[in-house]
């Protein structure tokens, strides 16, 4: 019958019954009623899952939602427990601090305004204590600053721009996903090994914040190897026909094309580059190559044949060989009949990490949670030993370098893992120039 109990505003509900009696009208302010925003006082605590359910990243959003539902089940002690078996946590399968976890969902539409509106309604109407999810950096930054103002914890979903934990970092926001700088640092040595150190690169970059930070990161990393950057060209986000951008590549003297594109952009640009015969060309006496710095499973599926042999990077992949990954892939696969994507993984992990931090802190107070998460070291979440750095709330862990599989056996192994770049190689100082100008500020509990 009904799959999970679902209440709205458990807070006020129980408060109303217990506190005020039935007839007496009382007037109060948010501050006087509780110690922090949306303090859970009933038998349940509400999480808010804010994911794109419509628009260009709807598929990723649905996969995130699946993972979040699974995480809630595992926290509440249902199902097989997934990563709770491999991650040493303070959770005991009875919810969080004795409260059963319920959740509300919202649609970000991959638009900052819509995402903030749905986050606001989760906070103001449903009494959510934590917001998780999202599939774009613009949305992540927007929702993160909203949560900071409201006194709610934000556990970012898929967001790859340096800014999320760089110049737009916030004390109440945490990112598990890796970033553009790490992609560059992980990819560069592999590219040097495969393609040599005297390459000439041509960048096509999606013309918005994420594209620019990725271009900057990849450029810096490849130039440090000795590569030369011939040209960087910005393409509008809504471009579907890239032929006018690809034709000049042929005559530029470049021998590598780097596509700083994501989603539909990338699917179109790589297919058109291959149709132009770029990969059959020999320039400067070397085979022409294409690189896609940020991969996702759904993109790879869309690009099909074109990505065979193309290098890229990922935060996590279901083919990894470690106990955490196996446990998660098993319970996800049993429930939904497919392996989880890397955005699903990050949302699942973020939800568990939040719940665990609350359990360790012994309180839902956002400031206590921030303290519990800062400089927290953990393992068993599929990425090996991981650190949540306190200085910028960014997770540090190994990064995966991937390659389009030459001989895929099914639709789920289109990508293969080439290398696991160790954490030490992708680390950087919190005030690195690409991340400078940010200020965490103080944690806000809304009191």
């Amino acid at each position: 019958m009904s799959r999970s109990r679902f209440t709205r505003r458990g807070v006020l509900k129980s408060g109303a019954v217990a506190g005020a009696g039935v007839a007496l009208p009382t007037i109060f302010t948010a501050g006087s009623a509780s110690a922090f925003t949306n303090e859970p006082t009933g038998a349940t605590v509400t999480f808010g899952f804010n994911v794109p359910q419509s628009g260009p990243y709807a598929d990723e959003g649905m996969d995130e939602l699946r993972a979040q539902q699974l995480a809630v089940e595992h926290i509440n002690g249902e199902g097989d427990g997934g990563m709770l078996n491999t991650f040493k946590s303070a959770l005991d399968g009875s919810g969080v601090l004795g409260k059963k976890v319920v959740y509300v969902t919202g649609d970000t539409q991959t638009k900052s305004d819509a995402a903030r509106a749905s986050a606001k309604s989760m906070i103001e109407k449903d009494g959510a204590i934590m917001i998780n999810g999202g599939s774009s950096s613009g949305v992540a930054v927007a929702v993160q600053s909203l949560c900071q103002e409201a006194g709610i914890i934000f556990m970012a979903g898929l967001t790859h721009s340096n800014d999320t934990t760089g110049k737009d970092r916030k004390a109440n926001g945490f990112r598990h996903f890796f970033n553009a700088y790490m992609s560059g640092a992980a990819l560069a040595p592999v590219l040097a090994k495969a393609y040599g150190t005297d390459r000439r690169a041509y960048h096509l970059t999606a013309d918005y914040n994420w594209g620019w930070t990725q271009e900057e990161s990849i450029r810096a990393a490849t130039e440090a190897l000795g590569w030369e950057t011939v040209e960087t060209v910005r393409t509008p986000l809504s471009t579907t026909d890239f032929s006018s951008y690809i034709a000049p590549v042929l005559n530029s003297g470049a021998d590598v094309l780097i596509l700083n594109h994501y989603g539909g952009n990338m699917v179109n640009s790589i297919n058109q580059a291959v149709q132009f015969g770029l990969r059959d060309k020999v320039v400067n006496g070397k085979n022409f190559e294409i690189v896609v710095p940020l991969y996702s499973e759904l993109m790879a599926e869309g690009a099909g044949e074109a990505i065979k042999g193309v290098y890229g990077s990922m935060n996590w992949n279901w083919q990894l060989d470690n106990p955490g990954t196996k446990a998660f892939v098993k319970s996800f696969g049993e429930k939904y009949g497919r392996p989880p994507s890397n955005s699903a993984h990050t949302c699942y992990v973020q939800t568990l990490l939040y719940a665990d931090a609350v359990a360790r802190a012994g309180s839902f107070n956002p400031c206590a949670v921030v303290e519990a998460l800062e400089d927290f070291e953990f393992d068993g979440m599929g990425n090996g030993p991981t650190l949540y750095r306190g200085a910028d709330h960014q997770c540090f862990k190994d990064v995966l370098v991937m390659k389009g599989n030459e001989n895929p056996t099914n639709q789920f192994d289109i990508l293969e893992i080439v290398e696991l770049t160790p954490r030490a190689q992708v680390e950087y100082a919190p005030d690195h120039p690409m991340f400078a100008g940010g200020d965490l500020g103080k944690c806000n509990s809304g009191a």
Binding site: P25, Q53, K111, E124, K125, V141, A142, Y208, P236, D439
Partner: protein
């Protein structure tokens, strides 16, 4: 006679004021413990959005409802208003008044430029021109003007913004002379909890003002001229009147309304993103106006409220909620019913809106206001007894043209 309005209009205005003041009760009809609490919409963000989009649609209606010029580009003014307001927050002070004033001025200036160009054409060409302008504004904001707009990420407040007028102890959130807009007071009556939010009442005050100004425009000789443009522009030309100054004035006024809405949006939620300028937002206000009833005073507000409510409440009814509602059905049937309904709720809310819009356009071309009017007429007839109830005389007179305020 009050504020230059006749008796009927004064009564109308008072009703609007009361409705606005009691919105926190009206939008929160269900107790927290009732299973229908899902449908409560009385939380600050939604209430303020209804007021703000109400202002947006009232302004749009001055152009579209009166002159018949259909602009798809009003999102640009909304966006410019937001950017102007956030810049005021960053540079000058977090007090909302300078922000709102600059928002109105900037959008008025932009409307003057866009209007001056676009109004050289009418009909479909005018619509396309405004659409193109708005799309251009969106592209500019999204990438070219990133130093001003902060591009995709959106312009937001930072702790180290200069804010030259704010002292060290000033509030860190948009405020009304110290009273922060996100402050709320709650009233608990038994199981009911009502939220009174500073920001909502701030927006509501502007909404009432906007409504009043629009009422005066509708009743003014200027309004009559605008109607003349809609009725027959050629005839107006032949009588020696140039419609351009009138349409341009209407365009600028409605642009300023949109800028006010944009400024208030930024005040309620200090972030200005380029999406606010996308043509879909410009299309949304068209739908709001037509759904509610173009050319009527109350229609646009009703349309705005309906759409915002659907968007925020319906989109949250996910499959889990549906399973809970229909848990009493046998499993197979439950799944079928949930599968069916799930297409119209959650992410499918737009489908519900689309269906509703089609029904309204087909059966009530005058929008929701016409629907209300029909019900009222039916009710009146019934009260007068019998279904042929109109006194014989009524049938032989031309139908009274309805009061525009109804």
């Amino acid at each position: 006679m009050l504020f230059g309005l006749n008796k009927k209009d004064t009564r109308f205005l008072i009703i609007v004021v009361l409705l606005t003041l009691f919105t926190p009760f009206l939008m929160q009809p269900f107790a927290e413990t009732s299973p229908l609490a899902q449908f409560n919409g009385g939380y600050p963000d939604l209430m303020a959005k209804v007021a703000i989009f109400g202002i947006f649609a009232i302004g749009f209606n001055i152009l579209f409802g009166l002159t018949g010029y259909l602009s798809f580009g009003h999102a640009a003014f909304l966006g410019v208003g937001s950017y102007a307001a956030v810049w005021m927050f960053k540079l000058l002070t977090l007090n909302v008044f300078p922000a709102v004033i600059l928002a109105v001025i900037m959008s008025g200036l932009l409307a003057l430029v866009i209007g001056w160009i676009s109004l050289r054409r009418s009909g479909i060409y005018f619509s396309i021109l405004t659409l193109a302008m708005a799309e251009m504004a969106y592209r500019l904001a999204y990438s070219v003007l990133t130093p001003i707009t902060n591009g995709e990420t959106g312009l937001q407040l930072r702790p180290h913004d200069p804010r030259v007028l704010d002292g060290p102890g000033a509030p860190q959130y948009p405020n009304l002379f110290g009273l922060e807009l996100n402050d709320s007071y709650f009233l608990r009556l038994g199981d009911h909890v009502f939220t009174f939010n500073v920001g909502y009442y701030f927006c509501a005050a502007f909404a009432i003002l906007a409504f009043y100004v629009s009422l005066r425009i509708f009743r003014s000789p200027f309004g009559l001229m605008l109607r003349a443009v809609k009725a027959n522009q050629q005839r107006m030309n032949y009588t020696g009147l140039s419609p351009r100054p009138y349409t341009l004035a209407a365009f600028v006024i409605s642009g300023m309304y949109a800028g006010l809405a944009g400024g208030l949006m930024a005040a309620m939620d200090p972030l200005a993103g380029a999406e606010r300028m996308q043509w879909t937002v410009g299309g949304e206000v068209v739908i709001m106006t037509i759904l509610g009833g173009a050319g009527t005073l109350m229609g646009p507000v009703l349309g705005a409220g309906t759409i915002k409510y659907l968007e925020n409440i319906f989109s949250k009814i996910n499959e889990n909620v549906l399973h809970q509602w229909f848990a009493f059905l046998p499993d197979g049937l439950e799944n079928m019913v949930v599968w069916l309904i799930a297409h119209f709720t959650g992410e499918g809310w737009a489908l519900t809106l689309g269906l509703m819009f089609m029904l309204v356009v087909f059966f009530m071309p005058g929008g929701l206001v016409e629907g209300g009017r029909r019900i009222a007429r039916l009710w009146r007839k019934r009260r007068h007894g019998g279904d042929g109830g109109a006194d014989g005389d009524e049938l032989h007179r031309p139908a009274r043209s309805p009061h525009v305020a109804e």
